[in-house]
């Protein structure tokens, strides 16, 4: 493919989707990522551009909206809407609203290709699959781009551009595969995947193209904390040195945490609801109003330290707008207690997330985390990774992060950034008690200068430039080691799955375009019958190589959805075929596992199971 004129970054988020691009016809030193204004239905019959496309779909029944009121400049008679109107209006029609499709896309509890959304819709209602929802957001972006940017020039169409699509660092191989499938279905072929926290870091590198080398030092370990609307994503990036040049390596990623800014707004709205109508109940429309009002109040309180309270008003819902309106004052102390202490409590490094179910955060369907304490999840991640990083051969390297990069609209609140820095600093101080004559360790510093809402899309677009050789690249490879389960000869306990050992098939940190082969471990597979392998992954074990067999794996390796293969009958093959496993990471960034015959003449791809867990 000849180099496209634009390199495009797409942030397909849980609650908001964004697109940024770099025009490479501009000289590189002046080429900056810019966000695309995305036309979308904002009211029935009204289309306007917004910097973000809310990741919501509204699926009205026949005749429920005036004909043509969901039309877009590029499409007539649409029977669904994506974006602002879908989010705002759909909030009052949960049975017609598709939300958080991305969380469903990586949810092992459901069939991700089955029509299950809206989750609250009745059985006979219009439903689509999590995969289809993702396709529709991407298609909306493609149509919007072609309308606004391509304007009839075929070479400028989005399908012809180089695209960097971001995924949560915590997405496993199956969820990545589904994301690529969605992009291909939307017509986007020239694709590379990039982890979102890395994209945020690239946005920081772009903002500091001239001076980033002065802002970090060899040995720095940077924690990227990306708290989106619905998820929290964690990554560690290490600053090293090679022949005099600074090199950046992504050394660890966190687990998938369904906890984000929306949970905080929801918690605040529930508190305000108790205050505004003690003992009473607000209806869905009023709760929605209250949610917006609380978010505005929160932002003004957390932005201006002089304010002691902010008013929250809910107008009457029927015709009497004044007589049945309600009002309360949100006090700074209460808001800080709830948000800063509730979601970012000061905790030691040894803190562990609570496993009990917390009320107000769970919704049937998605596996929301039960502990709202973001800092506890941070501690758990940093502690486990620092132990694993300490086991590396290169001793003397830092194992606790000494810098942090924030991402996500939540961190517009300075109070929250400050709290995270304080908590992380306390971990560093506790780990290195002050010694006589040695100055006490420095606190954790915060890397600033990115747009918290658009950094991921912009950083992804900048990464497109980096891939063309204009800028420093973060190394890392796969963020997990992958294993298949091998049954042990121990007698099985009735009713329990037989114990297994974990055989490493793809080591941690496999780079794009590389492969590994395990010719020593052979399996005899029966032709024509589906075979399932238990599949496992670890974000901790860095020293296993392809072929390593781990017996005690429960502590550091977790089981993922199984993978399966059916050997098609082929000429010259017997009924049972000896095969071995082969792993490859594609240029796009997907993990591909195959079974290969001894003579390497035949190969079958193993499929990730995205259907319901048995």
């Amino acid at each position: 493919m000849p180099a496209s004129r634009f390199v495009v970054g797409i942030d397909l988020g849980t609650t908001n989707t964004a697109l940024a691009y770099v025009d490479t016809s501009v000289p590189v030193d002046r080429a900056r990522p810019e966000a695309l204004g995305i036309p979308q239905v904002v009211n029935p019959g009204e289309v306007a551009e917004r910097p973000l496309l809310p990741s919501f779909l509204y699926l009205p029944g026949p005749g429920e909206v005036p004909a043509g009121s969901l039309n877009l400049p590029w499409s007539e008679n649409l029977d669904y809407a994506a974006g602002e109107f879908a989010r705002n209006f759909g909030g009052q029609v949960p049975t017609r609203l598709v939300a958080s499709a991305k969380s469903w896309l990586c949810h092992p509890g459901v069939d991700r290709k089955a029509n299950v959304l809206p989750w609250k819709a009745h059985d006979d209602a219009r439903k689509i699959s999590p995969l289809e929802a993702s396709i529709r957001y991407l298609r909306h972006l493609a149509d919007a781009w072609n309308h606004v940017m391509a304007k009839g020039v075929p070479a400028n169409r989005l399908e012809e551009q180089e695209i960097v699509l971001t995924v949560p660092a915590s997405f496993d191989a199956a969820a990545r595969e589904l994301t690529v499938e969605a992009a291909r279905a939307a017509g986007l072929e020239h694709l590379t995947l990039l982890e979102e926290p890395q994209a945020a870091f690239y946005a920081w590198l772009d903002a500091h193209r001239d001076d980033w080398r002065e802002l970090v030092q060899v040995g720095d370990l940077i924690l990227v904390v990306d708290v989106g609307g619905g998820t929290t994503d964690l990554t560690l990036i290490e600053v090293g040195q090679e022949s005099g040049n600074l090199v950046l390596t992504r050394v660890a990623v966190g687990d998938h945490l369904l906890l984000g800014g929306d949970n905080m707004d929801l918690a605040l709205a529930h508190t305000a609801a108790q205050q505004i109508k003690p003992g009473g109940r607000l209806d869905a429309g009023q709760m929605l109003q209250l949610g917006y009002a609380c978010r505005a109040a929160k932002e003004s309180l957390l932005a201006d330290a002089k304010l002691t309270s902010a008013a929250v008003t809910v107008l009457g819902r029927g015709r009497s707008v004044i007589a049945s309106s309600l009002k309360t004052d949100l006090k700074r102390d209460d808001v800080e207690k709830l948000l800063v202490d509730g979601f970012f409590p000061p905790v030691p490094l040894e803190a562990k997330p609570q496993q009990s179910m917390a009320a107000g955060l769970t919704e049937i369907g998605l596996p929301y985390v039960s502990d709202p304490g973001v800092t506890r999840h941070l501690a758990h991640f940093v502690k486990r990774q620092s132990e694993a990083l300490g086991e590396r051969e290169t001793a003397g390297k830092r194992t606790l992060p000494n810098a942090v990069l924030f991402n996500g609209g939540v961190f517009k609140a300075e109070a929250l950034r400050k709290r995270v820095v304080e908590v992380m600093s306390s971990w560093v101080k506790d780990a290195e008690p002050p010694k006589k004559g040695k100055k006490s360790p420095q606190g954790v510093r915060s890397l600033e200068g990115t747009n918290l809402d658009l950094a991921v899309a912009r950083g992804a677009a900048y990464y497109g430039l980096v891939r063309r050789g204009n800028g420093v690249r973060i190394r890392g490879g796969t963020a997990r080691a992958y294993y298949v389960g091998i049954e042990t000869s121990l007698p099985a306990i009735p009713g329990a799955a037989p114990p297994i050992k974990a055989l490493c098939v793809a080591p941690f940190g496999m780079e794009e375009g590389t492969e590994t082969d395990l010719p020593k471990q052979e399996f005899g597979l029966i032709v024509g019958e589906p075979v399932q392998f238990r599949f496992l992954g670890s974000t901790l074990r860095r020293n296993d190589t392809a072929g390593t067999l781990v017996e005690e794996w429960e502590e550091q390796i977790e089981e993922l959805q199984p993978i399966s293969v059916t050997l098609a009958e082929k000429q010259g093959l017997g009924r049972t075929v000896p095969v071995h496993l082969h792993a490859r990471v594609t240029e796009v960034g997907q993990l591909e596992l195959s079974c290969i015959t001894r003579d390497a003449k035949h190969r079958w791809k193993l499929e990730f199971n995205v259907r319901e867990r048995d």
Partner: protein, 193 residues
């Protein structure tokens, strides 16, 4: 023969007249008689003739009554949708305590202001602060500048700027979708339990 000719001609003319009359009668659907009456009276009566004349002039069809445009209502619709303005203006607020009116109006004020800023860009007609001295030159647009006080003589006029005025610089009000009832300023809301 000469007499015979004239008799035959008269009889022929009479038959012809009867035939033509019958044809006219049939073709006229019974209005031939009326036509002959009008003919006679027009010849005798000058006033009647004057009344008939304009009726024979080219008839201009009057336009069919058009459906009133909803355009004048669009801004009200937007202010109702975004800020509940119509609900407020039509509500009886005489019984509501001042405090409640206060916080309700604050909320509506914010929302209506946001709504206006979203759809129109406003600028003052005359730049400057209130009570600044301004000059109104000859040829000013009387729909944009109103002169009050001791107005005398001819421009230029010097005076104090009491109100800088508002002018719409840009407008972004979308047309309603085809088929939408423009007379609906707020749809009825029905919640399904």
């Amino acid at each position: 023969m000469n007499q015979d000719f004239w008799l035959g001609a008269a009889a022929g003319a009479a038959i012809l007249a009867i035939l033509v009359g019958a044809l006219l009668f049939l073709a006229g659907g019974g209005r031939t008689g009326l036509g002959l009456q009008v003919l006679g009276r027009t010849l005798r009566d000058r006033q009647f003739a004057d009344k008939v004349r304009p009726m024979l002039a080219t008839v201009i069809e009057s336009p069919k009554p058009v459906k009133p445009s909803g355009a004048p209502l669009r801004m009200l619709l937007i202010l109702q949708r975004e800020g509940r303005l119509l609900d407020f203006l039509m509500e009886d607020i005489s019984g509501a305590p001042d405090a409640q009116v206060g916080f309700g109006v604050r909320e509506m004020h914010r929302k209506c202001q946001d709504a206006i800023k979203k759809v129109i860009d406003l600028e003052p007609v005359l730049p400057g602060n209130e009570n600044d001295t301004v000059t109104v030159n000859a040829g000013f647009d009387p729909s944009a500048v109103r002169l009050t006080g001791n107005v005398a003589g001819s421009p230029p006029f010097k005076g104090a700027l009491i109100h800088p005025g508002w002018r719409v610089r840009a407008m972004r009000i979308a047309a309603p979708p085809e088929g939408a009832d423009e007379m609906v300023l707020a749809p009825a809301e029905v919640e399904i339990p």
